[in-house]
């Protein structure tokens, strides 16, 4: 629980304490004069960014119950706001709280409206608070804070009158069936017989309740005297004396220390210490009379704290994630080290085994690969003899054809009808370009061409030949080229020669 500055302001003084989350400490009182206000301002300077919870303990307060038609949401808010402005025109410190719904057919809503009718009492303190810039959580009426005591002490009597002693006087708070109904503050005048005066006030209150029909004359009213300085020990006896419809019990300092949990030193520091403690315990009392302009700083403070809390959550999540990752990394590194050790053991074992092996110039895999590659290189090597044999066998059948030159190659060859001619699809083959000369009768061009074609077909039929074709004809008969010559030479009787080239490709593997 967060640190709070809890205050209780009355017409004559202001009590302050620091709620640390579990205990009330540094309880001090400040008189309503210049010295007191200066001391209070110094206290505020020392409590940096601590939210302030202010209790108002004054006779200038008003509580009333109103029944309004049942509505929800914005309609309800607007209606309640209109009603509040109608009831309390002269003060900004007002509020309303839905108590219950009527049992009747209309099921109307029953509201408690409350206000501090004379805000001038708190203005000096509020000015100092506002100037300090501390976030003000709200202004809460003392009776609403007192309700916390009934829960802590488990006071479940149907008609309960809490009588408590404050710096401002004696406060009587009537609680019926666990719900707040009426509260009165009576200042203690100097010189009064306090016990008798208080007893008289309580008896009057009883009669007032009967008059309002809040209680019946035969109902037993349980009076609980909250007496933090043990000065009202005799009050219970005085109240019930001669009254059958009144019962009284006393809660002294020891009871409050043991049952409520407040520190004795804090309790003794101020008559408002008990309520400061109860205010500190409550997260945010629901009955807040402060106007929104006063609590805007607290809203910012809450959002700021929310953002910081979310940041802390994100940081914690990231830290947890990192911790898991670091743990996992360390585990993996340890695992890698373990496997590395095992690998070294296996390698040592292998070294031990290989000591008995014959010496090798290179590792075994390279040894095998080298020998295999050398074998493949040797098997791929070709001499031109196979190609020359194929050509020679064919040319033997054509005595009029003479070989004038040959260019032989062994390399990658892609078949012309293959889809791709890239080196990856090409195969190693032998190929040869034959430069040939044909002796033919003069003017017998058709006969010469027929002989050349027959020769090429003959070459192509050889079992070792993949392809044979004419690379260059004696005459360029293509329609796209030009053709020149003389018919006069056709009359000569001497045979003529025609040069042509043939390309032969052997099958892969030959």
């Amino acid at each position: 629980m967060a640190r709070k500055l809890v205050l209780c302001a009355s017409s004559s003084m202001l009590a302050a304490g620091i709620w640390t989350g579990r205990a009330l400490t540094s309880v001090r009182s400040f008189a309503d004069n210049e010295d007191g206000q200066r001391a209070f301002a110094n206290l505020l300077r020392a409590t940096h960014r601590t939210p302030v919870y202010l209790m108002a303990d004054t006779v200038d307060e008003d509580y009333r119950f109103e029944t309004l038609p049942h509505t929800t949401g914005k309609d309800r808010r607007d209606m309640v706001e209109r009603k509040l402005k109608q009831l309390y025109r002269s003060t900004p410190f007002y509020g309303a709280n839905l108590q219950e719904r009527d049992e009747g057919k209309r099921r109307d809503d029953r509201y408690l409206f409350a206000a501090l009718t004379n805000p001038e009492v708190f203005n000096p303190w509020l000015r100092i608070l506002t100037a300090s810039g501390l976030p003000i959580a709200g202004v809460f009426p003392v009776p609403m804070v007192s309700l916390g005591l009934t829960k802590t002490l488990e006071l479940k009597e149907p008609n309960l009158l809490l009588v408590s002693k404050h710096a401002a006087g004696i406060r009587q708070t009537f609680i019926k069936q666990g719900r707040f109904r009426i509260s009165r503050l009576t200042p203690i005048r100097a010189g009064d017989a306090v016990i008798e005066s208080c007893a008289e006030e309580i008896r009057n209150t009883r009669m007032y309740l009967d008059a309002l029909n809040v209680t019946h004359v035969d109902d037993v009213l349980n009076v609980v005297v909250v007496d933090q300085d043990d000065s009202l020990t005799a009050l219970g006896t005085a109240v019930v004396k001669g009254r059958r419809n009144l019962r009284a019990s006393h809660l002294g300092a020891n009871d409050l220390v043991t049952k409520v949990g407040i520190d004795r030193k804090a309790l003794e520091a101020s008559q408002d210490a008990l309520h400061l403690y109860l205010l500190g315990q409550r997260k945010l009392p629901e009955f807040n009379l402060a106007p929104p302009t006063l609590t805007s700083g607290f809203a910012r403070h809450q959002v700021s704290r929310g953002i910081l809390a979310a940041s802390a959550g994100v940081g914690a999540l990231a830290a947890a994630w990192c911790a898991v990752n670091v743990y996992q990394t360390m585990h993996l590194k340890s695992e890698a080290q373990r496997i590395s050790n095992m690998t070294r053991q296996e390698q040592a074992r292998y070294q031990e085994i290989t000591r008995s092996f014959p010496p090798t110039p290179v590792p075994t895999d390279k040894l095998q690969l080298t020998v295999d590659v050398a074998g493949r290189i040797a098997s791929m090597a070709r001499l031109p003899d196979a190609a020359f044999r194929v050509v020679g066998q064919t040319l033997d059948k054509y005595p009029l054809v003479r070989l004038t030159g040959v260019q032989w190659k062994h390399g990658r060859y892609a078949a012309p009808d293959a889809n791709s001619t890239s080196a990856s699809t090409a195969q190693l083959s032998q190929s040869a370009t034959l430069h040939l000369e044909l002796t033919s009768q003069p003017g017998d061009i058709k006969g010469a061409l027929a002989s050349i074609n027959t020769l090429v077909r003959e070459l192509g039929k050889n079992e070792h030949v993949a392809e044979a074709k004419v690379a260059k004809m004696p005459l360029n008969l293509a329609s796209t080229g030009s053709l020149t010559g003389s018919t006069a030479s056709a009359r000569q009787e001497q045979p003529q020669t025609s040069q042509f080239d043939v390309e032969v490709v052997l099958k892969p593997g030959v």
């Binding site: 953002i307 910081l308 993996l332 890698a336 292998y350 070709r382 004038t404």
Partner: protein, 206 residues
């Protein structure tokens, strides 16, 4: 909800803190996640190395058989000059001897610089470094059969391994004024002398 300048001023610091925390948190998470990823990769690499080491131990018997089978052929290749550095003097000597044995009229040669072997993919050399040096030959022949006898004689010298890439044969004009035994054909051939890298410096030490 409308935020006033006062609200923004009040929320600036927590927002900066939250941004710093978020950025730092994200950075740490990313950094540590990458460390986990790297460690996983390291474990995978170590597991792979362990598997390999275990396989080598398991296959050590088979490895001994391979050594017995391949070490002598490998030594033979080293002796022939196929494995290791080029033996260019040996090639020239082999050319002279082959010319003499084939009764040719002399061989002119040019040897180019060493380069990667052209058909390395065809021989599936894998990581093995295979090189070739191109030798161009020009020689006179009496008959085309002399060319094959010359290559057979060259191979018989065992000066290395070579493959013939190309040959061009052209007839020579015969000078009738000169007595017999003169070349009738001119041949130009391209050979590739092939060498395979021998043991590396590290392998030689081990």
């Amino acid at each position: 909800m409308n935020l006033s300048s006062q609200d923004l001023r009040a929320l600036t610091k927590p927002l900066i803190v939250s941004l710093v925390v978020a950025a730092a948190g994200a950075g740490l998470v990313v950094f540590s996640s990458q460390a986990v990823k790297r460690s996983k990769g390291e474990v995978a690499a170590q597991e792979s190395a362990l598997t390999e080491a275990r396989n080598r131990v398991q296959q050590s018997g088979q490895e001994k058989d391979l050594i017995d089978r391949y070490v002598e052929p490998y030594r033979q290749l080293e002796r022939l000059g196929v494995v290791g550095d080029e033996q260019r003097i040996g090639w020239i000597d082999a050319l002279r001897a082959a010319n003499r044995e084939a009764d040719l009229y002399g061989v002119e040669y040019d040897v180019g610089p060493q380069q990667p072997y052209t058909f390395v993919s065809e021989v599936n050399a894998g990581p093995l470094a295979v090189h070739q040096s191109i030798m161009k030959l020009r020689l006179g022949l009496l008959h085309e059969g002399d060319l094959f006898r010359f290559f057979q004689a060259l191979a018989a010298q065992k000066a290395g391994t070579f493959s013939v890439n190309a040959c061009t044969l052209e007839p020579l004009r015969v000078d009738l004024a000169v007595p017999v035994n003169q070349p009738t054909l001119h041949a130009e051939c391209e050979l590739a002398w092939i060498t395979i890298a021998g043991p590396s410096a590290q392998e030689g030490k081990s």
